[in-house]
């Protein structure tokens, strides 16, 4: 590690107890002198260390604020009305307030990953020791922690090394959060720079969490052929006692699986999961099942399948305990961050806790010792299952029809629904015995349950929808490739050149939550469309699950139809939310392994490289959380644009380029120092699309980079134009902005585009060695 305060070197020390030779002590941080790569300019960067880089991005992609609330309600001066150019009592204006809230959201998201990482590392050190080696891919992965190396300038070799990194991250997060206090930062752009810092800290946090768990638990290690595992309601064997785990932190679930293995119960009980814990249980045990994304919580619990619900942290519904009680399933809470109001039974005897949970004396228990959770969960589920007999809260059809007749057609359900689904019409039809319209809502429903709380006559609308589609739901049985973790060095070597030159048209990362505007099918459509077009498609989190839930004409899910290697035309599931760090890691490794740029504490240069050369785009079609905001901001700072769905507009700030402003799109030619116009590539850094079609065209467009070769640009333009023609029925009106010389023009479109270029008064421009950093200019132009 690179930072040190005091170093003491003793060649030979003789004492009463013996002789010590070559003793080296470093107070502060451990120094790794075996790493020969020179230390870059920004090890463990402070809050302002990369501010200059941020301002370069923010100058090109100016924040576009869309206030989600006109007031500031954060202090007792307020509420303050910030409408228009008004300022609050503390002097803050609307732009600063919006960016402040964005920073708050990103701090929450970062804190969540960082808290997760801290818990994971502390737990694993306790279990496996500080010296347990970091190993994310054996000999196939030399750069084990690209984000950590890039940001911190250190090379972690053991779990213990990760502790030091966590200290830095926690300190940064505290500084960032403190900036949101009343009377601190007042500039929106400085808030935005801090947002980018939070995002970068988040990326490191995610990497710490994932490489720790991959190393210690033996998850697939950069394995392109990670096993295909069962996904969907129908994949769960309901003949066995079922333990449902929900959340993101896999530690207690690992303990459950270990207990089952150790007691020869692994084939006699079912462990299944929702949200990212589900990914991670399958990375540990391929017999485990993924039920589905975050939005499946209500429907799966109400179906009565789980005999026991174990919650850890993040994205767990706050009413899980209530819902589980209704199906007579006990709940075990396992995280200090989510105690669910349950009594702390951590130090009680296992037998007492089991007796209380099985008898129903207590609806649940908080157990903060994961080892205890394993035994208790297994024994409780096996004892509860025979008594519960899959007791469910879904109505019978007759009951449903009778209750539906009570609908007053007030439309309050629609007004509560995030996607304003035609619920009244469906319930009215149900009242007449026709359940088809309710069943049609099943795939579109995000499972929030707000409709039920809005209904004045107590119609349990979500349950009605699930009941109407029960047959379909029970048949949901798919395969998803278990999260593979990092990308291998050899894979990077193979695709580095075609990505940077543009011949692989892009890397599309489809990530995040399930707050989709029109169901998960859109995610599956986007995923398969770009894999078919031979982009490299990476998936993670809930989107990785949604993408798997649709089969092709041959009955194959996308993960069966496409390879899992990091190569053109693949679909690569890296894993849970924290595995998103491997996506950033792949981009960083392209700069390091393929282009041989120093990455050690060299953030600005590597981000400049990725921004100008690596045609990667993130797509978070159903992003809803603060974590998603933090993940996105980590990608922005690294120069990777992110597209969100229409609900993503509620993140209240976009980072938008203006393609018509020529002066915004100049870079330095590193060969000569000339400023060269390169066109609006990539046009936006953060952008909400209204429809799937719009997003697909924008994905293709945002994959263009200044460094594309003419062959690469022609390939990228072919996809952009082809998608535009197919989905918009027209030629894009900005194609001239992306043609630098005639060789960029796709050969099959020569005449059509030549005509456009002539009409637009197009002029040829040259392809530079692009950079935004003057210090990277190799030869300054003579004055």
């Amino acid at each position: 590690m690179s930072k040190k305060d005091v170093r003491l070197k003793v060649k030979e020390l003789k004492t009463n107890t013996g002789v010590i030779k070559d003793l080296e002590l470093s107070l502060g941080r451990i120094v790794d002198e075996t790493w020969k790569e020179p230390l870059g300019p920004t090890p463990f960067p402070s809050v302002t260390a990369l501010r200059e880089w941020d301002m370069k991005l923010l100058k090109r992609y100016k924040p576009f604020y869309m206030p989600f609330c006109d007031m500031c309600c954060l202090c007792t001066y307020g509420k303050c009305d910030l409408t228009g150019d008004k300022r609050g009592a503390c002097g803050i204006n609307m732009s600063a307030q919006q960016s402040r809230i964005v920073l708050l959201a990103c701090c929450i998201g970062t804190a969540t990953h960082l808290g997760h990482a801290r818990h994971m590392v502390d737990h694993l050190i306790e279990k496996f020791g500080r010296r347990h080696p970091i190993d994310v891919g054996g000999l196939n992965v030399e750069i084990e922690a690209p984000v950590i190396r890039l940001v911190c300038g250190v090379k972690p070799k053991t779990l213990g090394d990760l502790e030091d990194i966590l200290g830095y991250l926690e300190s940064q997060l505290t500084q960032l959060l403190s900036a949101t206090h009343t009377g601190q930062e007042g500039s929106n752009l400085d808030f935005e720079s801090k947002v980018l810092q939070a995002g970068m800290i988040d990326q490191v946090s995610m990497e710490v969490a994932d490489i720790a768990q991959v190393s210690a638990y033996g998850f697939p290690k950069a394995d392109p052929e990670a096993p295909l595992v069962g996904l969907g309601f129908g994949a769960v064997d309901i003949e066995k006692p079922v333990i449902l785990v929900i959340g993101h932190n896999v530690v207690p679930s690992i303990s459950i699986i270990d207990y089952l293995r150790d007691n020869d119960l692994a084939d006699k009980m079912e462990v299944c999961g929702l949200c990212c814990t589900a990914h991670d249980i399958t990375r540990y045990e391929k017999r485990a099942k993924i039920v589905g994304p975050i939005s499946w919580q209500l429907r799966f619990i109400r179906s009565g399948v789980p005999d026991l619900v174990v919650v850890d942290e993040q994205c767990v519904r706050c009413d899980v305990l209530d819902e589980a009680q209704k199906i007579k399933a006990p709940v075990i809470a396992t995280s200090e961050k989510n105690c669910s109001g349950l009594p702390d039974r951590t130090h009680d005897s296992v037998d007492d806790i089991i007796a209380d949970l099985v008898s129903g004396k207590t609806p649940g228990a908080l157990i903060l010792d994961p080892d205890k959770v394993g035994e208790i969960a297994a024994r409780v589920a096996s004892q509860v299952a025979p008594a519960r007999k899959r007791f469910k809260t879904l109505p019978e059809i007759k009951e449903l029809i009778e209750k539906a007749k009570e609908c007053k057609k007030c439309n309050e359900c629609i007004r509560a629904c995030p996607n304003m689904m035609p619920i009244t019409e469906a319930v009215t039809a149900a009242g007449k015995g026709d359940l088809t319209k309710l069943a049609e809502l099943y795939e579109l429903c995000v499972g929030c349950g707000r409709c039920e709380h809005a209904c004045s006559v107590g119609i349990r609308i979500h349950s009605f929808i699930v009941k109407a589609a029960e047959k379909q739901m029970k048949e949901e049985k798919f395969l998803v490739r278990s999260g593979r973790g990092a990308i291998q060095d050899v894979e990077i070597r193979n695709v580095g050149s075609p990505i940077v030159l543009g011949e692989i048209p892009g890397v599309v990362a489809i990530v995040g939550c399930a707050n989709f505007p029109k169901g998960g099918k859109e995610v599956a459509d986007i995923t398969t469309e770009f894999a078919r077009r031979r982009y490299i498609v990476i998936t993670s989190g809930c989107s990785a699950m949604s993408a798997a839930m649709y089969k092709n004409d041959e009955g194959k899910t996308p993960y069966e139809a496409f390879q899992g290697a990091f190569e053109a035309g693949s679909i690569v599931n890296v894993g849970s939310c924290v595995a998103n760090s491997h996506i950033a890691g792949a981009a960083i490794k392209i700069a390091s392994i393929f282009a041989k740029r120093n990455l050690r504490a060299n953030y600005e240069e590597i981000a400049d490289y990725v921004y100008n050369r690596v045609g990667a785009v993130g797509v978070a079609w159903g992003a809803m959380s603060q974590k998603a905001a933090a993940i996105a901001s980590g990608f922005w700072r690294l120069g990777v644009p992110v597209i969100v769905g229409p609900h993503g507009s509620k993140y209240r700030r976009m980072l938008l380029g203006r393609k018509e402003k020529e002066e915004d799109w100049c870079v330095y030619d590193a060969r000569t120092g000339d400023k060269v116009y390169v066109g609006p590539v990539p046009e936006h850094l953060f952008y909400a699309a209204e429809t799937k079609e719009e997003a697909m065209v924008m994905i293709a467009k945002l994959c263009m980079r200044p460094n594309d070769t003419t062959k690469g640009r022609a390939i990228k333009l072919t996809h952009y134009i082809d998608l535009h023609k197919r989905l918009y029925s027209t030629m894009p009106d900005d194609v001239h902005l992306f043609v630098r010389n005639h060789n960029d023009i796709p050969i099959t479109m020569k005449d059509e585009i030549a005509k456009i270029l002539e009409e637009k008064g197009w002029k040829e421009t040259r392809i530079p060695d692009p950079t935004l950093l003057p210090r990277l200019i190799r030869k300054r132009k003579e004055e």
Binding site: D70, M71, G84, R658, E690, T691, E694, T730
Partner: protein, 181 residues
């Protein structure tokens, strides 16, 4: 029910809320008074049907023609206009056009200057809500009219929450009056 209530219950407006369009004549007068109007049309224009079974986009086209208002087709729906032999002034993402409307220096699609009136229709409710709020705060010279069937609190003017029948009637009246009926 108050007439000025957000359709999506939780999407409440701020201290400054849209005035209700109680008569179609209000919209007609504003369009006629505007020097530089623009009509932003979202993707629901091609999927929504009015009470006379006509597609919403047909009403949009007629309104744009009668009011001589340039249309921006957002999302992917430009083809829907062209199929009806109507050429929008631009096909542009909703986020992009809203961003440009907050820029005083922007010269519009024809290079003649910033717009002074924006009509919006066919965007997802919550997306229109937030875009209108951006315009409310950052485009003080711009008046906005929401022509959807649900109350949009962040517009300058909006219909109340209407039935499809009343919405159809109102749009029909606006089109008729702009056409000199």
């Amino acid at each position: 029910m108050s007439l000025a209530e957000s359709w999506q219950r939780a999407e409440v407006g701020g201290p400054k809320k849209a005035l209700l369009i109680t008569k179609s004549a209000v919209v007609v007068t504003m369009i006629k008074k505007a020097k530089r109007p623009i009509f932003i049309v979202g993707h629901e224009a091609v999927s929504e049907t009015l009470s006379d079974n006509k597609a919403l986009i047909d009403y949009v086209i007629q309104l744009a023609k009668n009011g001589k208002i340039p249309v921006v087709a957002t999302a992917h729906i430009v083809g829907g206009f062209l199929k009806r032999d109507f050429e929008p002034a631009s096909s542009m993402p909703a986020i992009d056009i809203a961003n440009r409307l907050t820029d005083n220096e922007w010269k519009g699609f024809d290079g003649k200057g910033q717009y002074d009136l924006a009509l919006l229709l066919g965007l997802p409710y919550y997306m229109e809500w937030i875009l209108l709020n951006s315009l409310k705060h950052y485009a003080p010279s711009l008046k906005t009219i929401s022509l959807g069937k649900a109350y949009q609190p962040n517009a300058s003017w909006s219909f109340s929450n209407l039935t499809v029948e009343n919405w159809t009637k109102n749009l029909g009246e606006i089109i008729g009056k702009l056409g000199g009926e």
